[in-house]
């Protein structure tokens, strides 16, 4: 079943907004997606009907809140084909990566260990691990990219050859290049080189757009973030093998994550609760569960097919604009819907301003991937990124805006 874009758009009142007389064309879903009404309704229902804190309440509101929250865990686990016991809710994907960096890397690795990363990582999946590596004295190696923006797996093989890589963290889908990395293959390479290695994947740009089976990926942990997958702000998750969580040290400490506390020490609750300190994001979990419900309703295969088609059209459309250079793979089978490009001689800030003045919302900048910018030898890019509410009608305003920018800023 194809995505009924018109129906999706009807659930998004924001799309009726006009910007200076222009129709709103939202092409910035890689930064944050729009939020359909059923998601808002789910949060509202909690606030208007079951508002209370979770855990140990003995009155009905508190039980409902707990059910909503724990139910969201099960829903997310089902969506990603993972064990609910392995789902730790965090405030965003960044916290999920930090949880692993503190709870595992800092706690268990040392100077004999080597971490594998790549040059295309988002800062969220890079800085926590480079900081952790520096703290424990471990080396970090980076898989480079090929000229078409794919991970260079031959180079990866060399980096792995000495068998010292015991931890790998890389991105599933690049937020800049759009590249869909072959996670099972790189994971096998890592494990073949060292079967004790722990493999972490940043799925922030993958879970919203592709069918994902945590089990089939064969990895140890996966970070996601709600606000990029039709969900609310303020919630993300680390999805992990429960055995990995068992081995991890607690990170944030406080209420609810303890078993017992004395004045000087504490013992810890069972996983995943051991990693959820304090009052959790209850409304947000309800909202995320509703967002997952929508995505499951569309079907992730259909979501992917829709975006593959739209990305092909976007690449074609960009090809018609003089001076546009697309970064990343041109083959739509190898890429998602985030498309970064340069417009010859014009700074992305100026491009973005022109597009914004015409109602076209794109992101310009380094997209939290400074090392990748250096590889591409650019300071910034302009990025258009699509989702289930976009269709081919959104491409013409983009193309027109780019042509207007080229004319306006011509020297």
């Amino acid at each position: 079943m194809a995505i009924d874009v018109a129906a999706v758009r009807r659930s998004l009142p924001i799309l009726d907004r006009e910007l200076d007389g222009h129709r709103l064309v939202y092409l910035d879903s890689a930064a944050s997606s729009l939020t359909p009404e059923p998601v808002l309704d789910a949060m509202d229902r909690y606030y208007r009907w079951s508002r209370s804190n979770v855990n140990r309440g003995v009155y009905p509101l508190a039980e409902e809140a707990t059910d909503l929250y724990e139910g969201a865990r099960t829903v997310l686990a089902g969506f990603l084909d993972a064990d609910p016991t392995g789902v730790v809710f965090t405030k965003n994907a960044t916290e999920a990566c930090n949880l692993l960096a503190y709870g595992y890397v800092r706690a268990h690795l040392g100077p004999d260990d080597v971490l594998l990363s790549t040059v295309m990582e988002h800062h969220a999946n890079l800085v926590p691990f480079t900081q952790a590596a520096a703290a424990v004295g471990a080396e970090v190696r980076h898989v480079p990219i090929t000229p078409d923006g794919l991970l260079d797996l031959d180079a990866a093989a060399e980096l792995l050859a000495d068998g010292r890589v015991t931890f790998a963290a890389f991105v599933h889908v690049s937020n800049v290049l759009g590249t869909i990395n072959d996670v099972p293959r790189l994971t096998r390479m890592v494990r073949d080189a060292n079967d004790r290695a722990v493999v972490h994947v940043d799925g922030a740009q993958a879970a919203p757009h592709l069918p994902v089976s945590f089990r089939d990926l064969g990895i140890d942990s996966y970070a996601i973030t709600g606000h990029k997958m039709l969900g609310p702000t303020g919630i993300g998750a680390l999805v992990a093998r429960p055995e990995l969580l068992e081995r991890m040290e607690p990170f944030l400490t406080g209420g609810d994550m303890i078993r017992d506390v004395t004045l000087t020490g504490a013992t810890w609750n069972d996983v995943p609760h051991k990693f959820e300190a304090g009052t959790p994001m209850i409304a947000e979990a309800a909202g995320l569960a509703a967002a997952v419900g929508l995505l499951e309703g569309y079907g992730m295969a259909a979501v992917r097919a829709h975006e593959r088609e739209l990305t092909a059209q976007l690449l074609d459309a960009l090809g018609t604009v003089a001076g546009v250079t697309v970064h990343g793979p041109k083959d739509v089978d190898l890429r998602g819907g985030a498309v970064s490009f340069a417009l010859d001689g014009i700074h992305p800030h100026d491009v973005g301003a022109m597009l914004g003045s015409r109602g076209v919302c794109v992101r310009v900048g380094h997209h939290c991937t400074k090392p990748l910018m250096r590889c591409l030898d650019v300071a910034a890019t302009t990025r258009a990124s699509s989702y289930v509410y976009n269709d081919v009608d959104d491409l013409e305003p983009l193309v027109d805006g780019l042509e207007a920018a080229a004319a306006f800023f011509a020297r």
Partner: protein
């Protein structure tokens, strides 16, 4: 957000035909390099000082139209001024970028065309880059040094 509010014709002129843009300066007193890693803007600014006056100011760099045009307009407004006076003018421009009325509109010259940028918070730092480099160059000179590198966002 109309393009015209932001990109006045004067700004585009400076962008298209920058003044005092040069990679070198004979007898330079100070060379500062400023960069804004968030935008990727880079700016080299060189000053020559004669009798406590800015005898020459040249810039070179990369960045968006606003940052390049603002630096160009800045060089025109600054050259020939006493150091203290130029510092004061830079401060006037900075306050204008934060929404205040400029105290010395005439002295800012084409710099006044950037008033509208104050309404676009993300672009303010672009417009300031050249002026903040100027301030730093003068302060570096006053410290008796000849070069300085600054990485900043404002």
């Amino acid at each position: 957000m109309s393009m015209e509010d932001l990109y006045q014709e004067i700004i585009l002129d400076h962008y298209r035909k920058p003044k005092n843009r040069a990679p070198e300066l004979a007898d330079e007193a100070v060379h500062v390099h400023h960069s804004n890693p968030l935008c990727g803007d880079e700016m080299d600014l060189r000053i020559r000082v004669v009798d406590d006056r800015l005898d020459a100011v040249v810039f070179d760099g990369e960045g968006c139209s606003i940052s390049q045009a603002s630096a160009s307009a800045m060089t025109q407004a600054a050259v020939g001024r006493e150091l203290k006076d130029a510092l004061d003018l830079a401060e006037d421009f900075r306050r204008m970028m934060h929404g205040d009325d400029p105290a010395r509109p005439d002295d800012l010259g084409d710099g006044i065309a950037f008033t509208g940028v104050a309404k676009f918070p993300v672009r303010v730092k672009c417009a300031l880059l050249g002026w903040m480099a100027l301030r730093d160059a003068i302060q570096t000179f006053e410290r008796g040094a000849s070069a300085h590198t600054v990485t900043h966002e404002e």
